[in-house]
């Protein structure tokens, strides 16, 4: 297990922690971008080039910008006086810790039977395109419909209410 893996994982986990803990939402969004980038590099390390670059395009490129826009449109960059954590933060933290404990226990129990290495899969983007157009064509079409519906829905939901008030 190499040093590079520890470094990338530290970036991903540290970015996620900072995104959750930072009080200023703009800083949290930047930390979130670091976490997404770390995860994308982990994908690349797992020889999933297509998924890694899709992750960079979709998350670092689009979702992070969307989050920053939402923060600025809702004046979320001002730190509220009453604190950023809810009244029931202790219960939430306990639930998250319990979930991590269960997952880690399961992984540690299963670790001896998990594979430690495998040969690099010979998968090209060509194969992914062929699979998307043959075996996975129905999910692809459903995703296309879903994305169109989400595009229209997001615009309608976030549209001004003035027109509706007149009716």
């Amino acid at each position: 297990m190499g040093f590079v893996f520890y470094l990338i994982s530290a970036f991903a986990v540290g970015g996620a922690l900072a995104a959750v803990l930072l009080k200023n939402l703009v800083h949290a969004a930047l930390a979130l971008t670091v976490a997404f980038l770390g995860l994308a590099v982990l994908f690349l390390r797992l020889d999933a080039q297509f998924a890694g670059f899709a992750q960079i395009l979709v998350y670092v490129g689009a979702v992070a910008i969307l989050v920053v826009f939402a923060i600025l449109l809702t004046k979320g960059s001002e730190v509220p006086k009453e604190g950023v954590f809810s009244k029931t933060w202790l219960a939430g933290l306990a639930i998250a810790a319990a979930v991590f404990a269960v997952l880690a226990w399961a992984i540690v129990q299963a670790a001896p039977s998990l594979p430690n290495q495998s040969e690099v899969p010979a998968v090209t983007v060509n194969d992914i395109g062929n699979a998307l157009m043959s075996r996975y064509v129905l999910p692809l079409e459903i995703i296309a419909v879903l994305l169109t519906a989400a595009l229209l829905g997001a615009v309608i939901v976030a549209m001004h209410e003035k027109e509706r008030a007149k009716q």
Partner: protein, 105 residues
């Protein structure tokens, strides 16, 4: 090439999932809850990719396709979720979840 055991990737994914869950459960701001959900989805993607890479038949592309479709669904979810937050903010002048305690008006 040095090899990393599958369990290491799973532990990293579990850590990011737990951090995202903690964020979604403890933050007041609706945008931060969405950020937590995005982190959880990303952790699940890391699991899918790791199992695809170490699985017996990576050439079938099952886990990879799952991850790619999951990225697309998460993008749609983020767009609609943030649109909802902006809409609620315009209506209630707050994005604090503890003040959003009414379904009507």
């Amino acid at each position: 090439m040095t090899t990393t055991p599958l369990a290491a990737y799973l532990i990293v994914a579990a850590l990011i999932f737990a951090v995202g869950l903690a964020g979604a459960l403890t933050r007041r701001n609706a945008i931060m809850v969405l950020i937590g959900i995005e982190l959880m989805l990303n952790a699940a993607n890391l699991n899918l990719i790791a199992f695809w890479r170490y699985g017996p038949h990576p050439e079938l592309l099952n886990g990879m396709m799952f991850a790619i479709f999951s990225i697309a669904v998460a993008a749609a979810e983020a767009a609609v979720g943030l649109g909802l937050v902006i809409s609620i903010y315009r209506h209630a002048k707050t994005s604090d979840l503890e003040q959003m305690n009414r379904m009507k008006g």
